[in-house]
């Protein structure tokens, strides 16, 4: 769950979050305020680390390996090399093998996911379209990844060589993915998840867990909504429990339609 201070981090921990993302502005505010979005103040991240017992993540700009060195030095648990911040490099992502701290990276399709894994990402998430409260792009990305995995797993080796070239993915990772019939790393949903039903939908599509950003603290009752989304991820396959936890949550974040941003605005960042 995205949090901007120690108090929100405590609410997230009490609601059952298994990690928090420490950042100065949630994506909806970055979108509204504009300007260059950068790594957060290390002091603010450390305050959040001290406030909770669960792991703390923080974001760096795409390609900005010095921001990442700083986060590793202050002891964050995971780094998100994120398209939500303004990219620092329009050609290169961080060589994540040079770090001990694990990374999560966004992807819109299988090729992008496997390129990030080959650079050293330990976790993949959909990009979705952060800060919109609209799940449509996250659905597009997860469906794309899973459809390509299903295609790859029915291919012969010669076809896999051609497919790897096609989607610009390293062959050995594509072959491993085809064998496993899933990404070889943990795969999260992110970007636009605002309700328990959104979270459950992403789990059905093949995700292992869910990031909720602006959807919690831009809603009417953050503690209650956070707890409901935590339960929805566990019980995604049980509509009766989903109905119970979806009741009486107060207003969801307002959200945006994506007609003008079709295919995503932030999601196009990353190469």
């Amino acid at each position: 769950m995205d949090v901007v201070n120690a108090e929100q981090a405590r609410i997230a921990e009490e609601a059952g979050a298994c990690a928090v993302m420490a950042l100065e502005r949630v994506p909806a505010d970055i979108r509204a305020e504009g300007g260059v979005a950068r790594m957060s103040d290390p002091r603010m991240i450390k305050e959040i680390v001290d406030a909770v017992t669960i792991p703390v993540m923080a974001k760096v700009r795409i390609g900005h390996f010095v921001e990442a060195q700083i986060l590793q030095a202050i002891g964050v648990d995971y780094i998100d090399e994120s398209e939500v911040l303004t990219p620092a490099d329009e050609e290169h992502h961080i060589n994540k093998h040079n770090f001990k701290v694990p990374y999560v990276c966004g992807a819109r399709n299988l090729g992008e996911a496997l390129r990030r894994i080959s650079e050293g990402a330990a976790m993949i998430r959909t990009k979705g379209e952060a800060g919109t409260g609209n799940v449509v792009e996250a659905v597009r990305h997860e469906r794309a990844v899973m459809a390509e995995i299903r295609r790859a797993s029915s291919m012969g080796e010669e076809e896999l060589y051609a497919f790897a070239k096609d989607i610009q993915a390293p062959f050995h990772l594509l072959k491993e993915t085809a064998r496993l019939k899933r990404l070889p790393v943990v795969n999260f949903a992110a970007g636009g998840i605002a309700t328990p039903a959104d979270a459950a939908l992403m789990m059905h599509l093949g995700c292992d867990g869910v990031f909720v950003g602006s959807g919690i603290f831009h809603s009417g009752d953050p503690a209650k909504r956070a707890r409901a989304i935590v339960q929805a991820v566990t019980h995604y396959n049980n509509p009766k429990i989903l109905a119970e936890v979806s009741e009486d949550l107060g207003p969801a974040m307002v959200g945006m339609t994506i007609d003008k941003l079709k295919g995503g605005e932030y999601a196009k960042r990353g190469w």
């Binding site: 921990e13 609601a15 059952g16 298994c18 990690a19 017992t53 002891g75 701290v101 019980h235």
Partner: protein, 236 residues
């Protein structure tokens, strides 16, 4: 007990509220066992009631405990632990402890079952996670070390079995040199902080993640030593 019980499938539950339950499922399914074993992912009290044994996976102990409470599973789990074999890995080991250090503010709920005190997150942040070779004397192929994967792992602080409790048996130890500096009090191999796998009665605890390796000797041990004997022995 009626011999028909011998032929039926043994259902081993894996608590699937949060964490590494899928990896445990794969490991159990790959075992070659004398009894037919099925895995059931447990998210409700009804599912728990069908199980003969339970694995509580790694994850976040705060998240798992909260979800257990919200799913109406806390009391059924505590009752289950009184009579059936349970194995806790990492966060699961924390939940099986009698008391915990480093709980979240305001404290956190535990299930109990093993007479130990445990500290959460003994080594620090994620970058302090590590792998270490462990000796596994009571397992298959004991000459081959087991790769222990320690991720924000807990540390056993003290063993406190009451006179009526079953004795606690140390199954595997970590070299004292690998203990976090903040926790090293002596170099003795009988220091509880070096204990990374323990057995007490029906229960089994590992502070590391055997499900994240391809070596399934710990899974085999749990089923062979804890689960199968508990089923074959007639209960009064």
């Amino acid at each position: 007990m009626a011999p028909s019980n011998i032929d039926t499938t043994v259902i081993i539950g894996i608590l699937a509220l949060q964490g590494a339950f899928a990896e445990h499922q794969t490991a159990i399914q790959q075992l070659a066992l004398p009894r037919k074993v099925d895995v059931l992912l447990v998210r409700t009290a009804d599912e728990l009631a069908r199980c003969k044994a339970l694995i509580i996976p790694g994850g976040e102990s705060t998240t798992i405990a909260l979800l257990a409470r919200l799913s109406g599973l806390l009391d059924p789990l505590r009752e289950f632990i009184k009579v059936k074999p349970v194995w806790g890995t990492c966060a699961g080991a924390i939940l099986l402890a009698k008391s915990v250090h480093g709980a979240k503010r305001g404290g956190q709920e535990l299930l109990g079952g093993m007479s130990i005190t445990i500290a959460r997150n003994g080594w620090g942040s994620q970058v302090e996670s590590f792998e270490a070779d462990l000796e596994v004397t009571g397992m298959k192929d004991p000459g081959r070390p087991f790769t222990g994967v320690f991720i924000r792992a807990p540390v056993v602080l003290t063993l406190e079995p009451a006179p009526e409790d079953p004795p606690i048996q140390v199954i595997s130890r970590l070299s004292p040199s690998l203990l976090p500096c903040s926790l090293t009090s002596s170099n003795s191999t009988n220091e509880p902080r070096t204990f990374v796998a323990l057995r007490q009665g029906l229960h089994f605890l590992t502070t590391f993640h055997p499900e994240l390796t391809r070596d399934n000797r710990f899974h085999e041990y749990f089923v062979r030593e804890c689960v199968i004997p508990s089923i074959s022995t007639p209960r009064p």
